[in-house]
Symmetry: C2
Subunit: 102 residues, 2 copies
C-alpha cells in the first residue's frame, strides 16, 4: 500500500470552501482505500488529509482523472500552501478494506 | 469524529517488533473507525499511526482496555519515543464506515 499524510493551509477564512471541494471529489477513485479529511482543532485554516492507496501508481493515476483535475482547479484559489507532506507505506491495522488485521 | 496522527520511533532495529504488537492489538476496538499502521520509506525506525475514532471519549476509553494495556506494556521496551502527534477532527472523506462522503 501507499500512503500520504499532509497538512494543507487554506487562504484565511477559506477552509470550508476547500473542504467542500475535497468532500465532493473523494468518492470511489480507483485504488483508493481511504481518504480522510480533517480539520485541526487548534489551527483554524489547516486541513489534514490522510490517504491510503493500493499502490503509488494508483495515486499518481488519480491526479490525471478529469474529476480530480477539476477539483484541483476549483480548490486552488482557496489554498495558501502545503505545510507538511510525508509518504508512508501502510502495512496493516484496522478499517482498510484490504488490510490484514494481524 | 476524533483523529490522531502520530509518528513513533522504535529503538534501533526494533521497528518490526513494535509493528507486530500494533497489528496484534488493532482489532475492532469500540469506537475505532480506522487505525492505519505504516512504515516510513526514508526513516527506518519510524512508524506512522493514523487513527479515527467516533469521539475522543472512545479513544480515551480504549487506553484502559486490558488488551491495549497489555500491548502498551509489551511494546514499550521497543519504543524510543514519540516525535510527532497531532489531534484532528475528521469530517469526512472516503473509506470510513460512518463518514458522509460529501
Amino acid at each position: 500500500m501507499y500512503g500520504l499524510i499532509g497538512k494543507m493551509r487554506a487562504a484565511r477564512g477559506q477552509r470550508d470552501a476547500v473542504m467542500d471541494v475535497l468532500r465532493e471529489t473523494t468518492g470511489a477513485l480507483p485504488g483508493c482505500l481511504s481518504y480522510v479529511i480533517a480539520i485541526d482543532p487548534v489551527d483554524a485554516d489547516a486541513i489534514w488529509v490522510t490517504e491510503v492507496w493500493t499502490d503509488q501508481a494508483s495515486h499518481k493515476a488519480s491526479l490525471q482523472l478529469p474529476e480530480v483535475q477539476a477539483a484541483i482547479a476549483k480548490a486552488r484559489p482557496f489554498i495558501a500552501g502545503f505545510e507538511f507532506q510525508v509518504e508512508t507505506r501502510p502495512v496493516g491495522g484496522f478499517g482498510l478494506p484490504t488490510a490484514e488485521p494481524g
